[in-house]
Symmetry: C2
DNA sequence: GGAAGCATGTAAAGTGTTACATGATTTT
DNA sequence: AAAATCATGTAACACTTTACATGCTTCC
């Protein structure tokens, strides 16, 4: 019964000192980690309990005034588990669920003008995503780098540059579709 | 009770004349549609039943010898549903679950040499994916285009070019990490 | 005759999301 | 005093995957 990717999300935050479920959730928000591995409260709390039962983390009561709070720290077993996983040779899984590409795949039935409009909407989506990374996520990752963590900046740059590339790809595709629309290149008279 | 993205996958195949559950599954394989919306048998058959109950498709027995088979065709209601969805203004969802980026996010604890090795593995994964699109998926999509379907080629090119871009991005990141490793640039004496 | 492929489906387990429920502390 | 934020958790629902179960047809 080995750990799931979602377990490592939680485990790795505990390792870097993010000790409560609530703080883990906030950190996932802040780092836009949901961009490549979404995780919600209803997963985090059961996962923390599970990781403690299995000895990967240790929790202790840590009330703040009268407010109940549980602070977790990672154990040696937990550290070893992360290290093994990151070093592992097996190919990490990659799943994409893109409703946008799905629509594009169904677009053959539409008139060309509407296909171009759909592609434009996909381009707008990509541009908005790139902008969010640029304005919000990258500055935050730069702060993390100054504190000694390099990975958040790698990830943020990946996010920003991917969406920018994607926007550009849709721009070129739209141009192609519009060019075909204005009339296929007639052979010169 | 509107349709889910998975419903449109099934519905759009029925529209293009892929009439049985088994054939839909094969088409998803062939088009590598699982790359952006994975769908399995255990979803397809209940989905076909559901779509028929709601009047989006119509099924009739179509045995092949003694082998039981149900052939579905799309109804007007079904066609209208796809068209509305593809034309819709709401932003289509995009979800990514990348265990590779998750590992990279957890890599700050590793020595630089191992971070570089991890990035290399991610680059290999991307190169293998690009190669598969190039060698297998794009030729198949070109055949589809000759039959009048333009979307499959758009999607396949997107897949190939994305993975190629991604491989290149990992290559540059690996270079950066290795450069830092060989000693941060000492100030000239 | 055997293997590979065509064809349909169900059951159970696993995974994940949404909504709900509660209450303390800090900020405005 | 109200609003925002901190904090933990559950219940119900939705969705997906894996494994199972069956049997025909075509190709070698």
């Amino acid at each position: 019964v080995s750990l799931k990717p979602s377990s490592y999300v939680v485990l790795s935050f505990v390792r870097t000192g993010v000790s409560t479920g609530y703080a883990i959730r906030s950190a996932i928000e802040d780092m836009r980690m949901k961009e490549f591995w979404a995780t919600t409260f209803a997963q985090i709390y059961p996962e923390l309990a599970h990781l403690e039962r299995e000895g990967y983390i240790a929790g202790r009561d840590d009330p703040h005034g009268d407010r109940h709070r549980i602070a977790y720290t990672i154990t040696e077993k937990g550290e070893a588990a992360i290290d093994d996983w990151v070093r592992s040779d097996d190919v990490p899984s990659l799943e994409v669920r893109d409703e946008g590409l799905l629509r594009l795949a169904c677009s053959d039935v539409l008139p060309g003008e509407e296909v171009a409009a759909l592609i434009r909407r996909l381009r707008n989506r990509a541009e908005a995503a790139a902008r969010e990374f640029r304005d919000y996520n990258i500055p935050m990752a730069q702060a993390a780098r100054d504190a000694g963590f390099r990975a958040p900046l790698m990830i943020s740059r990946m996010g920003e540059e991917f969406h920018a590339w994607s926007a550009d790809w849709y721009r070129r595709l739209e141009d192609e579709v519009r060019a075909e629309l204005d009339g296929p290149p007639a052979p010169p008279a």
